[in-house]
Amino acid sequence: MAEYVLETKNLGISFGGLKAAQDVNLKIKKNQIYGLIGPNGAGKTTVFNMLTGVYKPTTGEIYLCGERIDGHGQEEINHKGIARTFQNIRLFNNMSVIRNVLVGLANQPEYKCSLATSMFRLPRHFKVEKAMRDRAKKLLDIFGLLEERNNLACNLPYGKQRKLEIARALATNPKLLLLDEPAAGMNPQETAELMDTIRFVRDHFDMTILLIEHDMSLVAGICEEITVLNFGQTLAHGSVEDVLHDPEVIRAYLGDD
């Protein structure tokens, strides 16, 4: 067993001449809640996109539980065990809540069922559908969405959409969960609730979580370790206490005066 769930070595990418990220070294241990922070345009989402295979890194390596995963497609990386949410929520809006989760469940080996099996309604199809549905209901129950399982995802209130996105990501049974600004657009009360949810996910699902966030109260509240990015480079790294009092970090956020 590898020491780290996620390890990146000198990860970097450039678009044309612009180095959007360079030499990013992350080491995330199992069951950690790890924060990735930095001013706007620091390259945080770019790092997420490299981790999930949206962009191919130009330099560096990514290891998930010791297995090298960079260069694979998005679907493959998801199958290998990284799931994510998006900064601007991306649900399957015209599908019901439960269907959103069912899409996530579909790739589990125990729910394997070929196209022909489904097309001709062989017994396996019914067994798998039933099992998936039960599992999805359990998952929705955990997130308090069971009552709304047949509503369209786009009709959910904002906070619940965020939760559904997390539920859908967890349905793919990941080893590492990436949350991209989960508290964006939330009021303090909702943020507090979200912090409980994230901790709950970590404990209940035995999950490792990497999150991007601007809301410092959330970061300070739940992250155990953070990395600060600025202009695509690592500015600081360490425990929350140390990093948030680092004069370099304060300067990056507040300007040079």
Binding site: Q74, E75, F92, N107, L115, H125, A171
Partner: protein
């Protein structure tokens, strides 16, 4: 359990329509009560329904615009006729011959569906639409000029006679079985997930490549089957029939029947085919243009009334469901409202800007989502 019964009925409504029509008209045919022209009309309805439902799979469920469906039909028609000619040497039964060539013609079309599906992996929206259109025109051009298929004079087949519609309707039932099962399975959910948000679908582990190809192949297969039926209905088959205009007519059926609704496709395809048939047989010479005039007006009125943002209030007040609700005085029952399956007909007809035709995703999203962070 009342709710369970309710949704089951809704699921089987499309089978029911076709089965009832099939039994009714077969009985009429056997008792000699069916006019030749009606039998012809029914055969037309049969293949139109197959075309519309299979195109709906691509446009309504996968969310990719295809303007080349007639091309697949063309392949099925020409090659199916070729198979018929070859097979009739070995197999005495005309029916068996037809069925085998329907399957073979479908498979040939499916192969080309795979070929057209490949660019679909790289292209989006308008670009894919024009590629499918180009594909249809290429196929037509080739069949016109290849030496074995009768050229511009058309390719003569034997024809099947007035019982063809029974075969066509049975084919419709088989297709409905396969397509309905597909869209109501985990695979169907994956396909709609791609339509709703391809990026999220990938991130959720949906194998986009596989499903896109599968949808194109399945849709092409059934278009090919429809082509074989068509070839046995009309003889000689002419390359000019399979132009992009015909692909568009099929698309119109899908859109009028509301995208993503299979029952809708069946109803719209039947209705439009009947209108077409009536106008075609009753208008001659230059008055035949009236057919397209009527067609065009129906199209524009339905689409403008159904989609104009300014008329939204009007639509909500007078939509079919509301009228039905008044008619039956049905009380809203929360148990039935929330049936477990999440119904397809609640999917809005509109495929969203970023899903279908536009490449400009960014701007629509920032409008939709005022709550997101400053970034």
């Amino acid at each position: 359990m009342a709710s369970r019964k309710n949704f089951k009925f809704k699921y089987y409504v499309s089978y029911l329509i076709v089965a009832v029509a099939l039994i009714l008209f077969t009985v009429l045919q056997l008792t000699g009560g069916l006019k030749r022209s009606t039998a012809n009309l029914l055969a037309e309805v049969g293949y139109s329904v197959i075309l519309a439902v299979s195109l709906n799979l691509v446009v309504g469920f996968l969310g990719e615009l295809s303007l080349g469906h007639a091309g697949f039909m063309c392949i099925g028609a020409y090659l199916g006729t070729l198979f018929m000619k070859v097979l009739s040497g070995f197999i005495p039964s005309h029916l068996l011959c037809l069925i085998i060539s329907m399957i073979l013609g479908g498979l040939c079309a499916a192969f080309f569906g795979f070929i057209v599906g490949l660019p679909a992996l790289r292209l989006k929206g308008d670009y894919l639409a024009i590629v499918t259109l180009a594909f249809g025109e290429i196929v037509r051009n080739l069949f016109k000029n290849l030496p074995w298929f009768g050229g511009a004079m058309g390719y003569t087949s034997k024809g099947y006679g007035s019982t063809l519609f029974i075969v066509a309707f049975v084919a419709v039932l088989v297709m409905l079985f396969v397509v309905q099962n597909l869209v109501r399975s985990k695979h169907g959910r994956a396909i709609t997930a791609i339509r709703d948000n391809e990026i999220a679908a990938r991130a959720t582990g949906v194998n986009v490549t596989y499903y896109k190809l599968a949808v194109f192949v399945i849709a092409a297969f059934f278009a090919g089957v429809a082509g074989v039926i068509y070839a046995n209905y009309t003889t000689p088959i002419l390359y000019s029939f399979f132009s992009y205009n015909y692909s568009i007519e099929i698309l119109v059926m899908v859109v009028l029947g509301s995208m993503g609704s299979i029952t809708g496709s069946i109803v719209a395809a039947s209705f439009l085919t009947c209108v077409n048939f009536y106008l075609k047989t009753n208008l001659t010479g230059d008055m035949a243009a009236l057919k397209y005039l009527v067609y065009a007006l129906i199209l524009m009125v339905v689409v403008i009334f159904g989609n104009a943002p300014a008329l939204r209030g009007f639509r909500e007040k007078y939509n079919i469901k509301a009228l039905f609700g008044k008619f039956f005085r049905k009380k809203p029952n929360p148990a039935t409202e929330r049936n477990d399956e999440g119904s397809w007909d609640r999917i809005p007809t509109k495929i969203k800007m970023d899903e279908l035709l536009s490449v400009d995703v960014k701007s629509t999203e920032s409008v939709q989502d005022p709550d997101k962070g400053e970034k």
